[in-house]
C-alpha cells in the first residue's frame, strides 16, 4: 500500500516535471503575437517632433560626384592608384577590413566579382579603412596574411592615416562605390541583398549596376544600405 503510494507520487512528480519542460520550451518560440505596444509600423511618420543625430552631415560623395584617385600602399608593398589600371571601364572601390564578420562574409563574393569583371574592365579595389598602429588585427601585416590565405586576386590597400574613406563618405564595412571610367560615382551601397547567405541572394546590386553601365544606362537602384561594422576612426 505505502509502496504503491510512493510509486504513484513519484510517477506524478516525474510526469509533471516532464510536462513543465515541454510547456516552457513551447513558450520560447518566436516573438509574442500580441505586443502590448501598438503603433504605426515603419519609420517615424506620425511621430513628432523628431531629432536625428546621425552621420548624415558627414561629407562624402553623392551619385554623380567625381571621386578622387589615390595613392595607397598595396599588400605587395607597391603604391597603387586607380589610374594604374589600363583600359579600365570602371572601378569597384570597396571599403572593408580584416575582422568585420560582414566584410569576411563578402570576401568570396568579392573574389568572384573580380574574377568575373576584371577582364571586362571593372576591377575590385579593396581598401582597409581600419588600419591603425594600435590594432594588430588590422595591421598591414595582418592584411597581407589575410590576402594570402584567401588568395585575393585584387589589390588590398591600406588607408594609412585614414585620409581616403572620409572623402568618399564610407561609414561601414563593406561599403561599395562603383565608379565609371571618368571616376564618376555611379552606385553607392551594398554588394547584394543577403550578407549572411550567398545562396539566398535575390538581387546582386553591384553586378546589376555594372551591367547597367555596360549598356550605357544609369544603375537602378544607385544607392542601397546594409548593416555593417562601423569604420573605426582613430580618436
Amino acid at each position: 500500500m505505502t509502496k504503491k503510494k510512493v510509486l504513484f507520487a513519484a510517477a506524478i512528480l516525474v510526469f509533471s516535471l516532464l510536462s513543465t519542460v515541454t510547456v516552457s520550451a513551447q513558450e520560447r518560440k518566436g516573438p509574442p503575437k500580441n505586443g502590448e505596444r501598438k503603433g504605426p509600423p515603419g519609420g517615424g511618420g506620425g511621430h513628432n517632433p523628431e531629432q536625428t543625430e546621425s552621420l548624415k552631415d558627414m561629407k562624402g560623395y553623392k551619385i554623380g560626384d567625381t571621386a578622387t584617385d589615390f595613392k595607397l600602399k598595396n599588400i605587395d608593398g607597391n603604391m597603387f592608384s586607380m589610374s594604374d589600371i589600363k583600359d579600365a571601364k570602371g572601378y569597384i572601390v570597396v571599403f572593408t577590413c580584416n575582422e568585420c564578420p560582414f566584410a569576411k562574409m563578402y570576401e568570396d563574393r568579392l573574389i568572384a566579382l573580380h574574377n568575373e569583371y576584371a577582364s571586362k574592365g571593372y576591377s575590385v579595389i579593396a581598401i582597409n579603412t581600419n588600419v591603425t598602429d594600435d590594432n594588430e588585427k588590422e595591421s598591414f601585416e595582418a592584411m597581407q596574411k589575410r590576402a594570402l590565405e584567401k588568395k585575393f586576386p585584387y589589390v588590398y590597400l591600406e588607408d594609412m592615416g585614414q585620409k581616403i574613406f572620409p572623402q568618399y563618405g564610407a561609414l561601414r564595412t563593406p561599403h561599395v562605390y562603383l565608379l565609371d571610367k571618368e571616376f564618376i560615382v555611379q552606385y553607392i551601397g551594398t554588394i547584394d541583398d543577403n550578407a549572411k547567405s550567398a545562396k539566398d541572394v535575390k538581387v546582386k546590386y553591384v553586378e546589376n549596376a555594372i551591367q547597367a553601365l555596360e549598356k550605357g544606362e544609369k544603375p537602378n537602384p544607385n544607392f542601397t544600405k546594409a548593416i555593417g561594422c562601423p569604420v573605426k576612426i582613430k580618436e
Binding site: 516573438p31 505586443g35 536625428t52 543625430e53 562601423p230
Partner: protein
C-alpha cells in the same frame, strides 16, 4: 518475492529519475539567467511595433551585435541606466546570427551581466528596412532610438559615457 523485486526495481528506477530531475532543477536555478533567458527572433515586420508607443513611458531601442566593438563597449551604460531607472524600457536588438544564440550570445550576455531585454533581428535584406527605422541611418551600428509617445531621437554611433547618454535622453524627452 518476484513482486517485491519488481517494486524495488521500479522504485529505484524512479528515484534515479527523480534525482536527475532534481539535479536539473538546481542547475537551472543557479544558471537562472542563462537557461531562462528568453531571446526571441524577430523579422522587421514583427519588430516594427516595438519602435513605437502610445504611452509616455521612455523606450530605448539599441541595435547592436557581439562582433561590433563600440556596441559592446557601451552595453554597460545601458545596463547601469536600466538599474537606476527601472521604469524605462530598454530593448537591445541584436544583429548577431541566429545560429549563435545558444552557443555564443547567451554565454556572452551572462558573462557581461546583461539583464535588459534582448531580442535578435534576423532579416537579411537590410536595405528594405533600414530606412523604415530612420532614413538618415547609414546601417552602421550601434544605432539607438530614444522615444516615448511624443518625442523621438536617433543616434548613430556610440554614447561616450553615462553623462552623454543621460543628456541625450533628457534632450529628447524633456526639452520639447
Amino acid at each position: 518475492m518476484n513482486k517485491m523485486k519488481l517494486h524495488f526495481f521500479l522504485v529505484s528506477f524512479l528515484m534515479v529519475q527523480l534525482s536527475f530531475a532534481q539535479v536539473d532543477s538546481t542547475k537551472s536555478a543557479s544558471n537562472n539567467q542563462i537557461t531562462d533567458m528568453d531571446i526571441p527572433v524577430y523579422n522587421f515586420d514583427s519588430l516594427a511595433p516595438l519602435l513605437h508607443t502610445t504611452s509616455d513611458k521612455i523606450y530605448i531601442v539599441n541595435f547592436w551585435a557581439m562582433w561590433c566593438g563600440p556596441c559592446v563597449k557601451e552595453l554597460p551604460i545601458f545596463e547601469a541606466y536600466q538599474k537606476n531607472n527601472p521604469n524605462v524600457e530598454i530593448i537591445l536588438v541584436s544583429l548577431d546570427f541566429t545560429e549563435d544564440i545558444e552557443t555564443k550570445l547567451k554565454p556572452f550576455l551572462k558573462k557581461k551581466g546583461i539583464t535588459s531585454k534582448v531580442i535578435v533581428l534576423d532579416d537579411p535584406d537590410a536595405n528594405t528596412w533600414i530606412d523604415k527605422v530612420d532614413s538618415n541611418w547609414s546601417g552602421a551600428i550601434p544605432f539607438t532610438i530614444i522615444f516615448n509617445n511624443k518625442n523621438r531621437s536617433f543616434h548613430e554611433g556610440d554614447f561616450k559615457d553615462m553623462q552623454d547618454f543621460e543628456t541625450k535622453i533628457n534632450n529628447t524627452i524633456k526639452n520639447k
